[in-house]
Amino acid sequence: MPEPLLRIERLTVAFGAVTAVDAVSLDVPPGGAIGLIGPNGAGKTTLLNAISGFVRGDGSVRFDGSELIGIAPDRRAHMGISRTFQQPRMFGDQTLLDHLRVAADHAGGTPLAPEEAVEAVGLQAVLGARCRELSAHDQTLAEIARALVQRPRLLLLDEPAAGLVPSEVDELRVTIAALHERFELATLLIDHNMDVVLGETDHVHVLDFGELIFSGSPDEVRTSQLVIDAYLGEEWEGAPC
């Protein structure tokens, strides 16, 4: 079996006494669409931060055969890992075009034209607008466009549907679904919206208290008692984050 694009083995991230990610192992195949769900505080974003290099972890994270642990975030981006953020992180004062130019400036290889990137997410109309004037929905899409400019092979999506109204969520799903074919990239998608994750991925991992408690197809996740229990716990005792 060929090595997957991303292979995480026994990755652990601890903040002082708190173990946010506990010996997690998972694979992302080339072009795959992998989902990651779990209640608040389960360590989903920490896992993403560890893959993109913003927090340190122990264990092994291999991308395309090379070990990432100990490598800085900027170099991981050059290798082909792009990400979005839960709270979109934009360069507020700059236009979307300038923003995408920065992404192109630092791409590891030949960048995608900004025009093509905004076209892929449907933001052509606001290319000249300043980022802080974009709606939350547009900022989410702009972050995806920014990632696309760098022609990533792995795109990490951190709760892209958070704060969107249902019609926007539907548009977002169409956009994300189209990315795989058009750009030949793999995605690792985190979201609280189960419909989005279960509908747009081939394989889903469930994280609870930093540990992987279940992995399977979206259909298996829907019927798993373990997952239902974890989410029932969240519903009744869910602490604010």
């Binding site: 934009m90 360069f91 920065v102 630092h106 607008a129 004037e133």
Partner: protein
């Protein structure tokens, strides 16, 4: 865009005619102010563009002047002195910037303030490069291309020409890849890093460019003054220039021009009006506090006001038109 261009032309025009409108005493004051406009530009580069807090402008004013004095003494060439001193300050700025690869926000601010104090005591108060602190550094006004810049008006135009060239270089740099990356770091360093920007290199480069611009200011300052003493290069002087730049606005050339006038011309103006010039630091303190809570200094505030006013006029003139989305962006 056109508004900015027009504003720039008006500003430049005003700076060109200024010595024709004032008394000889003011020629000297204005020439000195131009040096501080360049010094304020070094804050614009570091804080306004790259978002880094550098509390050391007067240290580079001194380093630039001292190295220019030594190079001119050894070679006799003013142009070599200008180029050499700028280069030295570029390197020193990069060395201080090395600390900025690891240190963020105020941690870098503390180091730059300590650097200013170290330079003040080590270099400027105790003899440095063979320059006696009691007499300070000296630099003769030059003759270039057959034109002598010995008079105050002539040296004003020399200073202004160098200032305009520096502004042009900084403005061109703003549109390049490092310029874009600086603004990205300023607005969101984590996002910039996630895009593969080698943050450390760009922070070093920002400190280096800021140091070089500060060095140019130092050469111009010494050329105008002829001889300077340590009081211009103290840590407190650094803090004053920093506060003046923030008061005026750190994201535009107009802000740098205003900052230079605030540092040099405002105290003289107040003295002529019979008010103690000692009140100026208090005004700067007030200016910094206001800038932190509002728009980008006086220039940012004026621009915002103008944008809001323009928006109202436009709405009044064309009822029923949807409001444009430009309003809040004018303080950029």
């Amino acid at each position: 865009m056109n508004g900015r261009l027009l504003g720039g032309i008006v500003l430049l025009g005003a700076l060109i005619v200024a010595p024709q409108l004032t008394s000889p005493f003011w020629d000297f004051v204005l020439a000195t102010a131009v040096a501080y406009m360049i010094a304020a530009l070094s804050i614009n580069v570091l804080l306004g563009q790259a978002g880094m807090i550098g509390l050391f402008p007067a240290a580079f004013l001194g380093l630039g002047g001292y190295f220019a004095a030594v190079i001119a003494r050894e070679t006799g060439s003013w142009l070599l002195a200008l180029g050499g001193a700028t280069l030295v300050c570029l390197v020193v700025g990069a060395l201080v910037g090395l600390a900025g690869t690891r240190l963020r926000g105020m941690a870098f601010g503390i180091v730059t303030l300590a650097f200013a104090l170290a330079m003040e005591t080590f270099a400027f108060r105790h003899g440095f490069l063979g320059i006696d602190p009691a007499f300070g550094a000296t630099l003769d006004r030059p003759t270039l291309l057959g034109i002598d810049f010995l008079g105050d008006v002539a040296v004003y135009y020399l200073a202004l020409a160098i200032a305009v060239l520096t502004w042009a270089a900084v403005a061109l740099h703003e549109r390049t890849r490092p310029g874009r990356t600086w603004r990205a770091l300023r607005d969101d360093e984590v996002a910039a890093m996630s895009l593969g920007a080698r943050v450390g290199r760009y922070r070093i480069w920002a400190a280096a460019v800021s140091g070089a611009v500060g060095g140019v200011a130092g050469v111009v300052f010494l050329t105008v003054q002829g001889q300077t003493n340590v009081e211009s290069y103290t840590t407190v002087a650094s803090l004053l220039v920093f506060a003046a730049a923030m008061t005026a606005g750190t994201r535009s050339v107009a802000g740098a021009v205003l900052a230079g006038l605030l540092v040099v011309a405002l105290p003289e103006l107040l003295t002529e009006l019979g008010i103690s010039g000692e009140i100026v630091p208090l005004l700067f303190a007030f200016g910094v506090i206001t800038s932190l809570k509002g728009h980008d200094g006086i220039v940012g505030g004026v621009r915002h006001g103008a944008a809001v006013l323009g928006e109202r006029l436009r709405r009044a003139g064309a009822p029923g038109r949807p409001p444009a989305v430009e309003g809040g962006a004018a303080d950029a």
